[in-house]
Symmetry: C2
Subunit: 387 residues, 2 copies
């Protein structure tokens, strides 16, 4: 994948000192576009590359904020669509905003709600104006426009808000993707115009599928709008690892050096390594917690399925050398028992490990980038993980 | 309830220094039979009166051992019936015993399994030999005798094991209860004879319903067998608070002063206060965690139902002045949201509070006993709780 690892194109940009979030590069890898950085937000700083656990409904399922912090989480994501439907952004605002509401006083990012409208809501209709849809909870007819997505996110009060984008369902022809790019650019302009909250950053989202010209057009238009950060979207909606790599290859290096870059919805260890090599800083994905609830755990030797009978009397930890709570205290045999007995603690402990695994992986990446051996780390980890 | 609060009858007993668990009375209340004490076990000491959370299948539902400890839990209960069926006591033993298995390295008590055989298992048949039944999990035909109950508990390796007793289903005539008492006494003798593990205590269980003569006969026979501690059983199987009080009134004061006294299956704040007044030291009950999972929480002003719409925008904690994690960090509005959204964290945080509430209540009782004002505390708490 040499084309993704060349030195990134520099795009000149003004000073960022008055921005609600500030990104600084602390180290660059010699053999790839990987970078180690620091994202400062109104609720603290995050060392990058970093993985953000997903707290869909204002909670990372089964984990307290203390457990998240102890496991290495430093920034979490919450879903605008879910919170706007229940309990409603006005209720969250009345309860002091997302940080007070959730008890997580570190950095928070909210998505725009668009992805859930397209994937979860009933009978979504998309026009240039916005999306109208019916709530998957109670069938209420609702509307999500760029302006409304910004208003909801301002009420929720995360440190980082996302522009409403149009992520077309795959497979999609190039024409459909091009129209989605046009709409994404137009909506980004409207989001930028609508956004007023000074203590909240707004990120643009690059769409364009695996088409270099579309990704380039989208990135350039968004960069011209001067966002606080940029996301690469539309790469975790069912495409292959190769397609993800191609989308990244034609997107990441077009994004400004001095702004954080966020790859949405990606959480496989392999994909994190690939994406960091192209210069991505931030990730989110439900995979570690969803897999965890389903007894499937990350290890450096690949996935471990905790319901497997082989673990019944296995006194060893889920992963030797892991310093997470789960591995420090509990055996595979106990974890298997919890899943067989349908005990809540099984999903909890597996989620704790999976998140800690990804945080440890990003920590190792940061270290390797500083030490100039990211390419080597990537090869070692990919080889150990297997196919 | 003056008859339950008279000074306890002293029953002479030998030295207890060579016992696996040792109980010492640190303070006695002047106005009741309440006592503050200390139970030393192979896995640490517990200040009494104390409440033990129930970890039915080797886990207090949804909580890690760290969370239990932080919330004030010092001794937990695990269920022999459940663990013998799944994963099997031999698996627990192969994984290092209950403490290593569960990651809780404080004191643990296991029940005998009898209560679950009578309440959960299918087609239980009870003879003087023991109980035969079918597993509620897979229909396997199994047998629980006094000897087998001891063998399972020795394999599990708790600090305190319980004798197999016969707890008749209510309502039961006096004849049936008398036969259950005879069987309970005979089984206690067989348990005592079978029990060999030197680092594990064995407690006897007093049955006899609300009949003073039966309770007296049972208590005397068990005391003659010289157990490390004594439980009062058969008082949380559907009878009224008045019946519980009567059973305690005729049981507790017949148990030796220098041994711990454990009231099985009782967890209502009101019942704890009543029982401590008669000289009970230990309690267990699923109520705090089961109620918690069902959004019902203890407070000094009575039960709070978290799903109530009145809490939607309530920024105040579940209980003002409570120092548990839940009350320190989260609002009633957030807790309600978690329950409405069916998020695991709701049951977790409600369970944390309910356990902390009972631990705080027992802590206040210990303090009040030391300060000679237990009767006053009891009146105050009962009055605030309401009917």
């Amino acid at each position: 994948m040499p084309d993704t690892e060349t030195a990134p194109e520099r795009i000149p940009h003004g000073p960022t000192t008055d921005r609600p979030v500030r990104f600084s590069t602390l180290a660059r890898d010699a053999g790839s576009a990987a970078r180690a950085g620091r994202l400062e937000t109104p609720h603290g700083a995050v060392e990058t590359p970093a993985f953000m656990p997903v707290g869909t409904q204002g909670t990372v399922k089964g984990l307290t904020p203390d457990q998240l912090w102890a496991g290495g989480s430093r920034m979490i994501l919450a879903n605008t669509y879910h919170l706007a439907l229940r309990p409603g952004e006005e209720t969250v605002a009345a309860l002091g905003g997302l940080h007070r509401f959730t008890g997580w006083d570190g950095p928070i990012l909210t998505d725009s709600g668009g992805f859930q409208v397209f994937s979860l809501a009933q009978r979504a209709k998309i026009t240039d104006h916005g999306a109208s849809f019916r709530s998957h909870l109670d069938g209420r007819l609702l509307e999500l426009t760029p302006e409304r997505a910004v208003a909801i996110q301002e009420a929720l009060g995360a440190d980082v808000a996302m522009c409403l984008d149009h992520c077309p369902a795959l497979p999609a022809g190039k024409d459909a993707i091009a129209r989605a790019v046009d709409r994404t650019i137009a909506w980004a302009g409207r989001c930028k115009a609508a956004h007023a909250r000074a203590d909240q950053a707004l990120f643009g989202i690059v769409q364009g599928g695996a088409h270099e010209d579309l990704r380039a057009r989208c990135a350039e238009a968004l960069v011209a709008l001067d966002f606080d950060g940029y996301a690469v979207g539309g790469v975790s909606v069912g495409e292959s690892r190769e397609e993800v790599r191609r989308a990244l290859a034609v997107s990441t290096h077009r994004l400004p050096e001095d702004r954080p870059r966020y790859l949405m919805g990606v959480g496989r260890p392999q994909d994190l390594l690939d994406a960091v090599a192209t210069g991505i800083d931030l990730f989110d994905c439900v995979m570690p917690t969803r897999n965890g609830r389903n007894a499937t755990c990350f290890t450096d030797q690949g996935l471990v399925k905790l319901r497997n009978a082989a673990h019944t009397r296995d006194a060893s930890p889920l992963e030797a050398g892991c310093d997470c709570l789960t591995c420090a205290k509990f055996s595979r045999g106990y974890l298997r028992h919890l899943f067989m007995a349908k005990e809540m603690l099984g999903p909890i402990l597996a989620s704790i490990h999976n998140l800690a695994y990804l945080h440890r992986l990003t920590s190792r990446m940061r270290e390797a980038i500083r030490a100039g051996r990211f390419v080597q780390l990537r090869m070692e980890v990919l080889e150990a993980l297997g196919p």
